[in-house]
């Protein structure tokens, strides 16, 4: 009985973790899109660096989903 409860809790933790990470991944995709729109509208010296940062953020979000799937 207690073992089942623990299993359900572990499953719930995993589902919440993965869902949270996927939502964050969607947010990071929006950030990439937003930076793209901004840099297209306003061109300045550091636009390239900002685009790189947005993609690094996206990669970190993908890593988070991967970790949520494997570790949790």
């Amino acid at each position: 009985m207690l073992g089942d409860l623990n299993n359900y809790l572990a499953l719930a933790e995993k589902v919440f973790g993965v869902l949270g990470a996927i939502i964050y991944l969607i947010f990071s995709l929006v950030v990439v899109k937003q930076v793209g729109t901004m840099t297209k509208n306003v061109k300045d010296k550091f636009n390239g660096i900002l685009i790189v940062f947005s993609y690094l953020h996206l990669m970190a979000a993908i890593l988070l989903v991967f970790l949520a799937l494997t570790i949790l």
């Binding site: 929006v30 937003q34 570790i71």
Partner: protein, 240 residues
């Protein structure tokens, strides 16, 4: 009756050109000469205008400066081909202090949590995931704040004033008014930090569709007003 010979070879329609090796240089037409003269005059006017603007604001010191005078790299999508950017203003650097301090605090939080005894009871995998998520969210927060500042630009060109504002992730606001449409300019500096660091809001009332354009939290509002006055004088001189 069939044509035995192509008539064009017997009596060609086109005039025969006599080609000489020494072609004289093409003489410019009156329109071309007038165009060149006008361009020279325009360049002189732009140069004088630049000198006046530099006289008021000085030269840009670094790329993150809140005031970019006559920028060479900066551009925006809606700019007309012949339009010249005279000044780009961003909110004063001091407006970033609050989010920079918040970010520093957020970065320090995980190391402070080590002193909370309950945290050690949480399994290591959750701790790791939690810390990673925390730093990612902190980065996203700082990045968003920086983007809001960096892309919140007020542009003065030789033809119009423009306010480009990205309020949040998916909201872009573009307002513009012709220099000749400007009716009234006022500035407002209020509060301790604004008075100390000399930044504030420039309110520009126009006769355009957008009745008021705000340059918010810009440094040296009085100098920006002077620049706008110079441009209005220039515009009225051109109109005569």
């Amino acid at each position: 009756m069939t044509r035995a010979i192509d008539l064009d070879t017997v009596a060609p329609d086109d005039l025969i050109e006599v080609k000489s090796n020494q072609n004289p240089p093409p003489t410019p037409s009156i329109e071309e000469m007038r165009g060149k003269e006008e361009k020279v005059v325009d360049d002189k006017v732009v140069e004088d205008l630049n000198d006046k603007i530099y006289g008021i604001l000085g030269h840009t010191k670094h790329p993150f400066s809140s005031l970019l005078v006559n920028p060479h790299v900066f551009d925006f999508e809606e700019r007309a081909t012949e339009e010249k950017i005279i000044l780009v203003a961003r909110p004063h650097w001091f407006t970033n202090v609050s989010w920079v301090l918040t970010t520093i605090l957020l970065v320090l939080v995980p190391s402070l949590l080590k002193f909370v005894p309950i945290i050690s009871d949480i399994p290591a995998k959750f701790q790791m995931m939690g810390i990673l998520t925390w730093y990612l969210v902190t980065f996203a927060f700082a990045f968003e704040q920086f983007l809001s500042w960096y892309f919140d630009v007020y542009i003065i060109t030789d033809e119009r004033i423009i306010d480009i504002n990205f309020n949040n992730l998916l909201d872009k606001k573009f307002s513009e008014a012709k220099i000749g449409m400007i009716q009234d300019i006022t500035s407002r500096v209020s509060g301790v930090s604004q008075t100390l660091f000399n930044y504030g809001t420039v309110l520009i009332q126009t006769a355009a569709e957008v009745s008021e354009i705000h340059f918010e939290m810009v440094p040296n509002p009085e100098k920006i007003i002077k620049v706008l006055q110079v441009l209005r004088e220039e515009e009225s001189n051109n109109a005569r």
